[in-house]
Protein backbone atom coordinates (compact mmCIF):
# COMPACT_ATOMS: atom_id res chain seq x y z
CA UNK A 1 0.00 0.00 0.00
CA UNK A 2 1.22 3.47 -0.76
CA UNK A 3 1.22 5.72 2.29
CA UNK A 4 2.24 8.91 0.49
CA UNK A 5 1.62 9.66 -3.16
CA UNK A 6 2.99 12.73 -4.93
CA UNK A 7 1.51 13.68 -8.27
CA UNK A 8 3.21 16.23 -10.53
CA UNK A 9 4.50 18.15 -7.52
CA UNK A 10 6.36 21.42 -8.16
CA UNK A 11 7.89 23.76 -5.59
CA UNK A 12 9.44 27.15 -6.26
CA UNK A 13 11.47 29.48 -4.06
CA UNK A 14 10.97 32.81 -5.75
CA UNK A 15 12.21 32.24 -9.29
CA UNK A 16 14.25 29.19 -8.44
CA UNK A 17 12.61 25.84 -9.09
CA UNK A 18 13.27 23.39 -6.27
CA UNK A 19 11.01 20.59 -7.48
CA UNK A 20 9.56 20.19 -10.96
CA UNK A 21 6.79 17.76 -11.85
CA UNK A 22 7.79 15.04 -9.39
CA UNK A 23 5.50 12.03 -9.16
CA UNK A 24 6.34 9.19 -6.82
CA UNK A 25 4.97 7.08 -4.03
CA UNK A 26 6.25 5.97 -0.66
CA UNK A 27 5.15 2.49 0.29
CA UNK A 28 4.11 1.28 3.71
CA UNK A 29 6.33 -1.39 5.21
CA UNK A 30 9.38 -0.38 3.20
CA UNK A 31 12.33 1.97 3.40
CA UNK A 32 12.39 4.43 0.53
CA UNK A 33 15.69 6.21 0.08
CA UNK A 34 15.83 9.64 -1.53
CA UNK A 35 19.23 10.35 -3.03
CA UNK A 36 20.70 13.03 -5.24
CA UNK A 37 23.51 15.59 -5.36
CA UNK A 38 23.47 18.65 -3.10
CA UNK A 39 20.63 20.97 -3.97
CA UNK A 40 18.69 18.31 -5.91
CA UNK A 41 15.57 18.93 -3.81
CA UNK A 42 15.69 16.04 -1.33
CA UNK A 43 14.80 18.08 1.74
CA UNK A 44 12.18 20.05 -0.17
CA UNK A 45 10.58 16.77 -1.22
CA UNK A 46 10.24 15.60 2.39
CA UNK A 47 8.99 18.98 3.57
CA UNK A 48 6.42 19.08 0.78
CA UNK A 49 5.20 15.58 1.62
CA UNK A 50 4.71 16.67 5.24
CA UNK A 51 2.77 19.78 4.35
CA UNK A 52 5.57 22.07 5.55
CA UNK A 53 6.14 23.50 2.10
CA UNK A 54 3.65 25.26 -0.14
CA UNK A 55 3.31 23.67 -3.56
CA UNK A 56 3.49 25.60 -6.81
CA UNK A 57 1.68 22.75 -8.53
CA UNK A 58 0.58 19.16 -8.23
CA UNK A 59 -1.06 17.33 -5.36
CA UNK A 60 -0.14 15.02 -2.50
CA UNK A 61 -2.19 12.28 -0.88
CA UNK A 62 -1.35 10.98 2.58
CA UNK A 63 -2.98 7.68 3.61
CA UNK A 64 -5.48 8.03 0.77
CA UNK A 65 -6.59 11.50 1.83
CA UNK A 66 -5.53 14.77 0.19
CA UNK A 67 -2.79 16.44 2.25
CA UNK A 68 -4.69 19.73 2.30
CA UNK A 69 -7.69 18.02 3.94
CA UNK A 70 -5.67 16.85 6.97
CA UNK A 71 -6.16 18.78 10.21
CA UNK A 72 -2.80 19.83 11.66
CA UNK A 73 -2.90 17.63 14.77
CA UNK A 74 -4.18 14.57 12.94
CA UNK A 75 -1.39 14.84 10.38
CA UNK A 76 1.13 15.19 13.21
CA UNK A 77 -0.11 11.88 14.62
CA UNK A 78 0.05 10.20 11.20
CA UNK A 79 3.46 11.39 10.00
CA UNK A 80 6.61 11.99 12.06
CA UNK A 81 9.55 14.05 10.83
CA UNK A 82 13.19 13.98 11.81
CA UNK A 83 14.76 17.12 10.30
CA UNK A 84 18.35 17.34 9.18
CA UNK A 85 20.84 18.12 11.94
CA UNK A 86 17.93 18.01 14.35
CA UNK A 87 19.03 19.08 17.80
CA UNK A 88 17.37 19.80 21.09
CA UNK A 89 18.45 23.38 21.68
CA UNK A 90 18.26 23.16 25.46
CA UNK A 91 20.14 20.44 27.32
CA UNK A 92 16.97 18.63 28.36
CA UNK A 93 17.12 15.07 29.68
CA UNK A 94 16.84 12.59 26.81
CA UNK A 95 13.56 11.16 28.10
CA UNK A 96 11.94 14.62 28.05
CA UNK A 97 13.10 15.13 24.46
CA UNK A 98 11.49 11.81 23.51
CA UNK A 99 8.26 12.85 25.26
CA UNK A 100 8.05 15.83 22.88
CA UNK A 101 7.10 13.25 20.27
CA UNK A 102 3.86 12.83 22.19
CA UNK A 103 2.86 16.49 21.84
CA UNK A 104 0.31 15.71 19.10
CA UNK A 105 -1.57 13.66 21.70
CA UNK A 106 -1.31 16.10 24.57
CA UNK A 107 -3.61 19.06 24.98
CA UNK A 108 -2.91 22.06 27.15
CA UNK A 109 -0.27 22.04 29.83
CA UNK A 110 -1.15 18.66 31.28
CA UNK A 111 1.66 16.34 32.30
CA UNK A 112 2.24 13.33 30.04
CA UNK A 113 -0.07 10.47 30.98
CA UNK A 114 0.77 6.78 31.39
CA UNK A 115 0.25 6.10 27.68
CA UNK A 116 2.70 8.86 26.73
CA UNK A 117 5.30 7.55 29.18
CA UNK A 118 4.86 4.02 27.86
CA UNK A 119 5.23 5.10 24.24
CA UNK A 120 8.34 7.13 25.08
CA UNK A 121 9.91 4.27 27.04
CA UNK A 122 9.20 1.86 24.20
CA UNK A 123 10.69 4.20 21.63
CA UNK A 124 13.80 4.64 23.76
CA UNK A 125 14.14 0.89 24.16
CA UNK A 126 13.72 0.29 20.42
CA UNK A 127 16.50 2.78 19.73
CA UNK A 128 18.65 1.12 22.38
CA UNK A 129 18.74 4.43 24.22
CA UNK A 130 17.08 3.40 27.48
CA UNK A 131 20.36 3.28 29.39
CA UNK A 132 21.00 7.01 28.96
CA UNK A 133 17.37 8.21 29.09
CA UNK A 134 18.00 10.31 32.19
CA UNK A 135 21.20 11.92 30.90
CA UNK A 136 21.12 15.43 29.52
CA UNK A 137 21.42 15.89 25.76
CA UNK A 138 24.70 17.82 26.07
CA UNK A 139 26.24 14.91 27.94
CA UNK A 140 25.61 12.45 25.08
CA UNK A 141 27.77 11.62 22.09
CA UNK A 142 26.57 12.49 18.56
CA UNK A 143 25.57 8.88 17.96
CA UNK A 144 23.60 8.71 21.19
CA UNK A 145 21.88 12.03 20.43
CA UNK A 146 20.88 10.76 16.99
CA UNK A 147 19.27 7.73 18.61
CA UNK A 148 17.39 9.88 21.13
CA UNK A 149 16.10 12.17 18.37
CA UNK A 150 14.97 9.14 16.36
CA UNK A 151 13.23 7.83 19.48
CA UNK A 152 11.48 11.21 19.70
CA UNK A 153 10.11 10.69 16.18
CA UNK A 154 9.15 7.07 16.90
CA UNK A 155 7.37 7.98 20.15
CA UNK A 156 4.62 9.60 18.09
CA UNK A 157 3.70 6.15 16.82
CA UNK A 158 3.07 7.55 13.34
CA UNK A 159 2.53 5.22 10.40
CA UNK A 160 4.76 7.44 8.25
CA UNK A 161 8.32 8.36 9.24
CA UNK A 162 10.42 10.82 7.27
CA UNK A 163 14.04 11.48 8.16
CA UNK A 164 16.34 14.02 6.53
CA UNK A 165 19.97 12.89 6.42
CA UNK A 166 19.75 10.92 9.67
CA UNK A 167 23.11 9.27 8.97
CA UNK A 168 25.08 12.47 8.44
CA UNK A 169 27.94 13.13 10.89
CA UNK A 170 27.79 9.59 12.25
CA UNK A 171 30.62 7.10 12.13
CA UNK A 172 30.02 3.95 10.03
CA UNK A 173 28.99 1.72 12.94
CA UNK A 174 26.38 4.22 14.12
CA UNK A 175 25.19 4.77 10.54
CA UNK A 176 24.55 1.05 10.14
CA UNK A 177 22.94 0.85 13.56
CA UNK A 178 20.61 3.71 12.72
CA UNK A 179 19.69 2.23 9.36
CA UNK A 180 18.87 -1.06 11.09
CA UNK A 181 16.38 0.87 13.23
CA UNK A 182 14.72 2.26 10.10
CA UNK A 183 14.52 -1.25 8.60
CA UNK A 184 12.99 -2.49 11.85
CA UNK A 185 10.39 0.30 11.68
CA UNK A 186 9.52 -0.67 8.11
CA UNK A 187 9.08 -4.29 9.20
CA UNK A 188 6.46 -3.07 11.65
CA UNK A 189 4.54 -1.65 8.70
CA UNK A 190 5.67 1.96 8.82
CA UNK A 191 6.27 3.82 5.59
CA UNK A 192 9.85 5.07 6.01
CA UNK A 193 11.41 7.72 3.76
CA UNK A 194 15.00 8.83 4.32
CA UNK A 195 17.24 11.18 2.39
CA UNK A 196 20.81 9.94 2.23
CA UNK A 197 24.12 11.20 0.94
CA UNK A 198 25.90 7.90 1.21
CA UNK A 199 24.99 5.95 -1.95
CA UNK A 200 26.45 2.57 -0.92
CA UNK A 201 24.56 2.85 2.36
CA UNK A 202 21.37 3.74 0.48
CA UNK A 203 21.86 0.89 -1.98
CA UNK A 204 22.39 -1.64 0.76
CA UNK A 205 19.61 -0.67 3.15
CA UNK A 206 16.72 0.77 1.15
CA UNK A 207 14.00 -1.25 -0.55
CA UNK A 208 13.28 1.50 -3.05
CA UNK A 209 15.34 4.41 -4.23
CA UNK A 210 14.33 7.73 -5.71
CA UNK A 211 17.03 9.69 -7.50
CA UNK A 212 16.53 13.45 -7.73
CA UNK A 213 18.51 15.66 -10.06
CA UNK A 214 18.02 19.41 -10.23
CA UNK A 215 14.52 19.12 -8.82
CA UNK A 216 13.40 16.42 -11.21
CA UNK A 217 12.95 12.72 -10.81
CA UNK A 218 15.99 11.16 -12.53
CA UNK A 219 15.43 7.50 -11.72
CA UNK A 220 13.59 5.23 -9.34
CA UNK A 221 12.91 1.63 -8.41
CA UNK A 222 15.03 -0.98 -6.70
CA UNK A 223 18.53 0.17 -5.73
CA UNK A 224 20.08 -1.80 -8.57
CA UNK A 225 17.75 -0.27 -11.16
CA UNK A 226 17.87 3.26 -9.74
CA UNK A 227 21.64 3.45 -9.41
CA UNK A 228 22.52 2.17 -12.87
CA UNK A 229 25.87 3.11 -14.37
CA UNK A 230 24.09 5.51 -16.69
CA UNK A 231 22.31 7.31 -13.80
CA UNK A 232 25.46 7.47 -11.70
CA UNK A 233 27.36 9.07 -14.55
CA UNK A 234 24.62 11.51 -15.54
CA UNK A 235 23.44 12.60 -12.08
CA UNK A 236 26.45 12.19 -9.83
CA UNK A 237 29.30 12.33 -12.31
CA UNK A 238 30.88 9.14 -10.95
CA UNK A 239 31.45 5.59 -12.04
CA UNK A 240 30.64 2.71 -9.72
CA UNK A 241 33.06 0.16 -8.41
CA UNK A 242 30.89 -2.79 -7.48
CA UNK A 243 31.83 -5.78 -5.44
CA UNK A 244 29.66 -8.50 -6.89
CA UNK A 245 26.28 -6.86 -7.39
CA UNK A 246 26.71 -4.43 -4.55
CA UNK A 247 27.71 -0.83 -5.00
CA UNK A 248 30.92 -0.42 -2.99
CA UNK A 249 32.76 2.73 -4.01
CA UNK A 250 33.16 5.30 -6.79
CA UNK A 251 35.75 6.88 -8.93
CA UNK A 252 35.59 10.18 -10.71
CA UNK A 253 34.82 10.09 -14.40
Amino acid sequence: MNAVVLEHVSVRFGRRTALEDVSLSIAAGAVTGIVGPNGAGKTTLLRAALGLQRLAGGSIRVLNKPLVAWPREALARAAAYLPQGGEARWPMPASDVVLLGRLPYRIGLGAPDAKDLKAAAEALARCDAGSFARRRMDELSAGERARVLLARALATGASILMADEPAAYLDPAHQLGLMDLFREEARRGTAVAVTLHDLPLAARLCDELVVLHEGRLAAGGTPAAALSDETLARVFGVAAMRSGDVLAAFRRI
Binding site: A76, A79, R89, M92, V97, L103, P104, R134, R152
Partner: protein, 337 residues
Protein backbone atom coordinates in the same frame (compact mmCIF):
# COMPACT_ATOMS: atom_id res chain seq x y z
CA UNK B 1 12.58 5.77 32.03
CA UNK B 2 10.41 3.88 34.47
CA UNK B 3 7.32 4.89 36.39
CA UNK B 4 9.22 5.92 39.53
CA UNK B 5 11.24 8.51 37.66
CA UNK B 6 8.09 9.90 36.11
CA UNK B 7 6.54 10.09 39.58
CA UNK B 8 9.53 12.00 40.97
CA UNK B 9 9.34 14.33 38.02
CA UNK B 10 5.68 15.20 38.47
CA UNK B 11 6.19 15.77 42.18
CA UNK B 12 9.11 18.12 41.80
CA UNK B 13 7.31 20.72 39.68
CA UNK B 14 4.60 21.67 42.23
CA UNK B 15 7.18 21.62 45.03
CA UNK B 16 9.37 24.13 43.24
CA UNK B 17 6.35 26.34 42.58
CA UNK B 18 5.30 26.19 46.25
CA UNK B 19 8.80 27.04 47.46
CA UNK B 20 9.04 29.99 45.09
CA UNK B 21 5.56 31.17 46.01
CA UNK B 22 6.50 31.09 49.71
CA UNK B 23 9.69 33.01 48.92
CA UNK B 24 7.77 35.64 46.94
CA UNK B 25 5.12 36.07 49.65
CA UNK B 26 7.79 36.31 52.32
CA UNK B 27 9.61 39.04 50.40
CA UNK B 28 6.28 40.78 49.73
CA UNK B 29 5.38 40.76 53.44
CA UNK B 30 8.82 42.06 54.39
CA UNK B 31 8.44 44.84 51.85
CA UNK B 32 5.01 45.67 53.28
CA UNK B 33 6.36 45.88 56.83
CA UNK B 34 9.35 48.00 55.91
CA UNK B 35 9.14 51.78 55.88
CA UNK B 36 10.30 55.03 57.50
CA UNK B 37 7.28 55.38 59.81
CA UNK B 38 7.54 53.42 63.00
CA UNK B 39 4.29 51.47 63.02
CA UNK B 40 3.93 47.97 64.44
CA UNK B 41 3.16 45.06 62.13
CA UNK B 42 -0.11 44.45 63.93
CA UNK B 43 -1.26 48.02 63.44
CA UNK B 44 -0.31 47.89 59.75
CA UNK B 45 -2.23 44.67 59.17
CA UNK B 46 -5.29 46.00 61.00
CA UNK B 47 -4.99 49.20 59.01
CA UNK B 48 -4.75 47.28 55.76
CA UNK B 49 -8.25 45.90 56.32
CA UNK B 50 -10.06 48.74 58.06
CA UNK B 51 -8.26 51.70 56.46
CA UNK B 52 -8.63 53.70 59.67
CA UNK B 53 -6.06 56.08 61.16
CA UNK B 54 -2.59 56.87 59.93
CA UNK B 55 -1.59 53.22 59.97
CA UNK B 56 -4.51 52.37 57.71
CA UNK B 57 -3.68 55.07 55.20
CA UNK B 58 -0.01 54.13 55.16
CA UNK B 59 -0.84 50.44 54.80
CA UNK B 60 -3.37 50.90 52.00
CA UNK B 61 -1.97 53.85 50.11
CA UNK B 62 1.79 53.40 50.43
CA UNK B 63 2.90 49.98 51.62
CA UNK B 64 0.42 47.75 49.80
CA UNK B 65 0.93 49.29 46.31
CA UNK B 66 4.69 49.15 46.67
CA UNK B 67 4.85 45.57 47.94
CA UNK B 68 2.22 44.22 45.54
CA UNK B 69 3.67 46.07 42.54
CA UNK B 70 7.11 44.61 43.29
CA UNK B 71 5.57 41.14 43.02
CA UNK B 72 3.54 41.97 39.89
CA UNK B 73 6.46 43.65 38.11
CA UNK B 74 8.81 40.81 39.03
CA UNK B 75 6.36 38.18 37.82
CA UNK B 76 5.95 40.01 34.50
CA UNK B 77 9.68 40.31 33.93
CA UNK B 78 10.51 36.77 35.04
CA UNK B 79 7.86 35.16 32.85
CA UNK B 80 8.73 37.41 29.88
CA UNK B 81 12.41 36.48 30.15
CA UNK B 82 11.65 32.77 30.28
CA UNK B 83 9.31 32.98 27.28
CA UNK B 84 11.69 35.11 25.17
CA UNK B 85 14.54 32.74 25.90
CA UNK B 86 12.35 29.85 24.85
CA UNK B 87 11.19 31.56 21.68
CA UNK B 88 14.66 32.55 20.49
CA UNK B 89 16.32 29.43 21.96
CA UNK B 90 18.80 31.86 23.46
CA UNK B 91 19.66 32.16 27.17
CA UNK B 92 20.70 35.80 26.68
CA UNK B 93 17.27 36.98 25.52
CA UNK B 94 15.58 39.13 28.14
CA UNK B 95 13.12 42.07 27.98
CA UNK B 96 15.78 44.57 29.12
CA UNK B 97 18.71 43.36 27.04
CA UNK B 98 16.56 42.98 23.92
CA UNK B 99 15.30 46.56 24.19
CA UNK B 100 11.68 45.66 24.98
CA UNK B 101 11.73 47.30 28.42
CA UNK B 102 13.45 50.55 27.30
CA UNK B 103 10.93 50.82 24.43
CA UNK B 104 8.08 50.34 26.89
CA UNK B 105 9.64 53.10 29.01
CA UNK B 106 9.67 55.36 25.97
CA UNK B 107 5.97 54.72 25.43
CA UNK B 108 5.21 55.50 29.05
CA UNK B 109 7.24 58.73 28.96
CA UNK B 110 5.48 59.89 25.79
CA UNK B 111 2.10 59.17 27.40
CA UNK B 112 2.99 61.01 30.60
CA UNK B 113 4.79 64.09 29.34
CA UNK B 114 2.69 64.87 26.32
CA UNK B 115 -0.53 64.84 28.28
CA UNK B 116 -1.89 61.64 26.73
CA UNK B 117 -2.16 60.02 30.14
CA UNK B 118 -4.67 62.68 31.20
CA UNK B 119 -7.07 61.60 28.43
CA UNK B 120 -7.51 58.20 30.03
CA UNK B 121 -5.44 56.44 32.70
CA UNK B 122 -5.13 53.41 30.42
CA UNK B 123 -3.14 55.50 27.95
CA UNK B 124 -0.04 55.14 30.12
CA UNK B 125 0.17 51.33 30.14
CA UNK B 126 -1.32 51.32 26.63
CA UNK B 127 1.52 53.31 25.12
CA UNK B 128 4.10 51.39 27.12
CA UNK B 129 2.67 48.15 25.74
CA UNK B 130 2.75 49.64 22.24
CA UNK B 131 6.44 50.52 22.69
CA UNK B 132 7.22 47.03 23.95
CA UNK B 133 5.28 45.51 21.07
CA UNK B 134 7.27 47.51 18.51
CA UNK B 135 10.60 46.34 19.96
CA UNK B 136 9.45 42.73 20.23
CA UNK B 137 8.12 42.80 16.67
CA UNK B 138 11.46 44.09 15.32
CA UNK B 139 13.28 41.30 17.14
CA UNK B 140 10.83 38.77 15.81
CA UNK B 141 11.28 39.95 12.21
CA UNK B 142 15.06 39.80 12.60
CA UNK B 143 14.90 36.28 13.96
CA UNK B 144 12.71 35.28 11.02
CA UNK B 145 15.41 36.55 8.70
CA UNK B 146 17.77 34.10 10.35
CA UNK B 147 19.60 36.37 12.77
CA UNK B 148 21.56 34.23 15.24
CA UNK B 149 21.83 34.50 19.00
CA UNK B 150 24.50 37.18 18.99
CA UNK B 151 22.89 39.23 16.21
CA UNK B 152 19.63 39.33 18.16
CA UNK B 153 21.37 40.63 21.27
CA UNK B 154 23.21 43.25 19.22
CA UNK B 155 19.91 44.31 17.67
CA UNK B 156 18.53 44.53 21.19
CA UNK B 157 21.40 46.79 22.21
CA UNK B 158 20.63 49.08 19.26
CA UNK B 159 16.90 49.13 20.04
CA UNK B 160 17.62 49.83 23.72
CA UNK B 161 20.01 52.71 22.95
CA UNK B 162 17.59 54.20 20.47
CA UNK B 163 14.64 53.96 22.87
CA UNK B 164 16.72 55.45 25.70
CA UNK B 165 17.84 58.34 23.47
CA UNK B 166 14.26 59.01 22.38
CA UNK B 167 13.15 58.89 26.01
CA UNK B 168 15.73 61.55 26.88
CA UNK B 169 14.67 63.60 23.86
CA UNK B 170 11.00 63.36 24.80
CA UNK B 171 11.74 64.47 28.33
CA UNK B 172 13.89 67.39 27.12
CA UNK B 173 11.07 68.63 24.92
CA UNK B 174 8.37 68.30 27.52
CA UNK B 175 7.70 71.43 29.60
CA UNK B 176 8.89 69.73 32.75
CA UNK B 177 11.37 71.33 35.16
CA UNK B 178 12.22 67.97 36.69
CA UNK B 179 12.89 66.27 33.36
CA UNK B 180 16.40 65.19 34.23
CA UNK B 181 15.58 63.59 37.57
CA UNK B 182 12.46 61.91 36.17
CA UNK B 183 14.44 60.56 33.24
CA UNK B 184 16.70 58.73 35.66
CA UNK B 185 13.63 57.36 37.41
CA UNK B 186 12.25 55.93 34.17
CA UNK B 187 15.55 54.53 32.98
CA UNK B 188 16.51 52.85 36.23
CA UNK B 189 13.06 51.97 37.51
CA UNK B 190 11.62 52.57 40.94
CA UNK B 191 8.65 51.53 43.04
CA UNK B 192 8.64 54.67 45.16
CA UNK B 193 5.35 56.58 45.56
CA UNK B 194 3.17 54.18 43.60
CA UNK B 195 -0.57 54.28 44.11
CA UNK B 196 -3.31 51.69 44.26
CA UNK B 197 -4.34 52.95 40.83
CA UNK B 198 -0.99 51.92 39.37
CA UNK B 199 -1.54 48.48 40.85
CA UNK B 200 -5.11 48.25 39.56
CA UNK B 201 -3.97 48.85 35.96
CA UNK B 202 -0.79 46.76 36.10
CA UNK B 203 -2.26 43.65 37.70
CA UNK B 204 -4.84 42.59 35.08
CA UNK B 205 -2.58 43.50 32.15
CA UNK B 206 0.35 41.54 33.56
CA UNK B 207 -1.95 38.63 34.40
CA UNK B 208 -3.27 38.64 30.84
CA UNK B 209 0.26 38.75 29.43
CA UNK B 210 1.51 35.90 31.60
CA UNK B 211 -1.59 33.85 30.71
CA UNK B 212 -0.78 34.34 27.01
CA UNK B 213 2.79 33.21 27.62
CA UNK B 214 1.59 30.12 29.47
CA UNK B 215 -0.76 29.31 26.59
CA UNK B 216 2.26 29.26 24.25
CA UNK B 217 4.32 27.03 26.54
CA UNK B 218 3.63 23.77 24.71
CA UNK B 219 4.73 25.33 21.45
CA UNK B 220 7.95 26.62 23.02
CA UNK B 221 8.76 23.06 24.06
CA UNK B 222 8.28 21.86 20.50
CA UNK B 223 10.42 24.72 19.16
CA UNK B 224 13.45 23.31 21.01
CA UNK B 225 13.55 20.79 18.16
CA UNK B 226 13.54 23.53 15.52
CA UNK B 227 10.73 25.12 13.54
CA UNK B 228 10.14 22.28 11.06
CA UNK B 229 10.01 19.63 13.75
CA UNK B 230 7.63 21.79 15.79
CA UNK B 231 5.32 22.20 12.81
CA UNK B 232 5.46 18.48 12.10
CA UNK B 233 4.32 17.95 15.71
CA UNK B 234 1.15 19.84 14.90
CA UNK B 235 2.21 23.15 16.47
CA UNK B 236 0.97 26.39 14.91
CA UNK B 237 4.40 28.02 15.07
CA UNK B 238 3.27 31.44 13.84
CA UNK B 239 0.54 31.45 16.48
CA UNK B 240 3.02 30.54 19.22
CA UNK B 241 5.34 33.35 18.16
CA UNK B 242 2.50 35.85 18.04
CA UNK B 243 1.30 34.89 21.50
CA UNK B 244 4.77 35.16 23.00
CA UNK B 245 5.42 38.55 21.39
CA UNK B 246 2.03 39.88 22.51
CA UNK B 247 2.30 38.32 25.97
CA UNK B 248 5.77 39.77 26.54
CA UNK B 249 4.60 43.18 25.31
CA UNK B 250 1.55 43.15 27.60
CA UNK B 251 3.39 41.99 30.70
CA UNK B 252 6.58 43.99 30.22
CA UNK B 253 4.72 47.06 28.98
CA UNK B 254 2.35 47.15 31.95
CA UNK B 255 5.19 46.46 34.39
CA UNK B 256 7.33 49.22 32.90
CA UNK B 257 4.45 51.69 32.96
CA UNK B 258 4.20 51.08 36.71
CA UNK B 259 7.85 50.84 37.72
CA UNK B 260 10.07 52.12 34.90
CA UNK B 261 12.73 50.09 33.16
CA UNK B 262 13.92 47.36 35.52
CA UNK B 263 16.41 45.18 33.71
CA UNK B 264 18.11 41.80 34.06
CA UNK B 265 15.36 40.19 36.19
CA UNK B 266 14.19 38.22 33.15
CA UNK B 267 17.75 37.12 32.50
CA UNK B 268 18.88 35.97 35.92
CA UNK B 269 15.72 34.30 37.21
CA UNK B 270 15.04 31.86 34.34
CA UNK B 271 18.71 30.96 34.18
CA UNK B 272 18.86 30.08 37.86
CA UNK B 273 15.64 28.06 37.73
CA UNK B 274 16.25 26.24 34.44
CA UNK B 275 18.13 23.24 35.93
CA UNK B 276 15.23 22.69 38.35
CA UNK B 277 12.76 22.61 35.45
CA UNK B 278 14.61 20.03 33.38
CA UNK B 279 15.69 22.78 30.93
CA UNK B 280 12.19 22.64 29.48
CA UNK B 281 10.82 26.04 28.32
CA UNK B 282 7.20 25.21 29.16
CA UNK B 283 7.96 24.23 32.73
CA UNK B 284 10.09 27.34 33.24
CA UNK B 285 7.50 30.08 32.70
CA UNK B 286 5.44 29.65 35.88
CA UNK B 287 8.42 29.25 38.23
CA UNK B 288 10.15 32.22 36.55
CA UNK B 289 7.11 34.40 37.24
CA UNK B 290 7.19 33.47 40.94
CA UNK B 291 10.98 33.70 41.09
CA UNK B 292 10.92 37.11 39.42
CA UNK B 293 8.33 38.31 41.94
CA UNK B 294 10.55 37.12 44.79
CA UNK B 295 13.65 38.72 43.27
CA UNK B 296 12.13 42.17 42.65
CA UNK B 297 10.45 42.27 46.07
CA UNK B 298 13.73 41.24 47.72
CA UNK B 299 15.69 43.83 45.73
CA UNK B 300 13.17 46.50 46.74
CA UNK B 301 13.60 45.51 50.39
CA UNK B 302 17.39 45.41 50.08
CA UNK B 303 17.69 48.86 48.56
CA UNK B 304 15.63 50.35 51.39
CA UNK B 305 17.76 48.58 53.98
CA UNK B 306 20.96 49.83 52.33
CA UNK B 307 19.74 53.39 51.73
CA UNK B 308 16.70 54.21 53.89
CA UNK B 309 16.60 57.76 52.48
CA UNK B 310 15.28 56.42 49.18
CA UNK B 311 18.28 57.39 47.07
CA UNK B 312 18.90 53.93 45.67
CA UNK B 313 16.77 52.97 42.64
CA UNK B 314 15.40 49.48 41.97
CA UNK B 315 16.97 49.20 38.52
CA UNK B 316 20.38 50.04 39.98
CA UNK B 317 20.20 47.03 42.28
CA UNK B 318 18.97 44.60 39.61
CA UNK B 319 21.57 45.85 37.11
CA UNK B 320 24.36 45.58 39.68
CA UNK B 321 23.46 41.93 40.11
CA UNK B 322 22.37 41.24 36.55
CA UNK B 323 25.06 42.84 34.38
CA UNK B 324 28.00 40.82 35.78
CA UNK B 325 25.79 37.75 35.51
CA UNK B 326 25.14 38.57 31.85
CA UNK B 327 28.88 38.80 31.16
CA UNK B 328 29.50 35.54 32.95
CA UNK B 329 26.78 33.89 30.80
CA UNK B 330 28.42 35.12 27.60
CA UNK B 331 31.78 33.73 28.73
CA UNK B 332 30.15 30.43 29.62
CA UNK B 333 28.44 30.23 26.21
CA UNK B 334 31.73 30.94 24.44
CA UNK B 335 33.45 28.18 26.36
CA UNK B 336 30.65 25.74 25.56
CA UNK B 337 30.81 26.44 21.82
Amino acid sequence: MDATIAAIETKRGPRLMLALLALALLAGCWSFLLGPSDISAGALLRGLFDGQSAAGIIAQEIRLPRAALALVVGAALGASGAALQGLFCNPLAEPGVTGVTPSAGLGAVVALYFGLATIHPLMLPGLAILGALAAAAILYLLSRKGAGAVALILAGVAIASFATALTALALSFSANPYAMSEMVLWMMGSLKDRTLNDLAYALPLVAGGVALLLSAARGLDALTLGEDAARSLGIDVAGVRGRVILGVALATGAATAAAGAVSFVGLVVPHLLRPFCGYQPARLIGPSALGGAAMVATADVALRLIAPDGQLLLGVVTAMLGAPFFLWLILKMRRAS
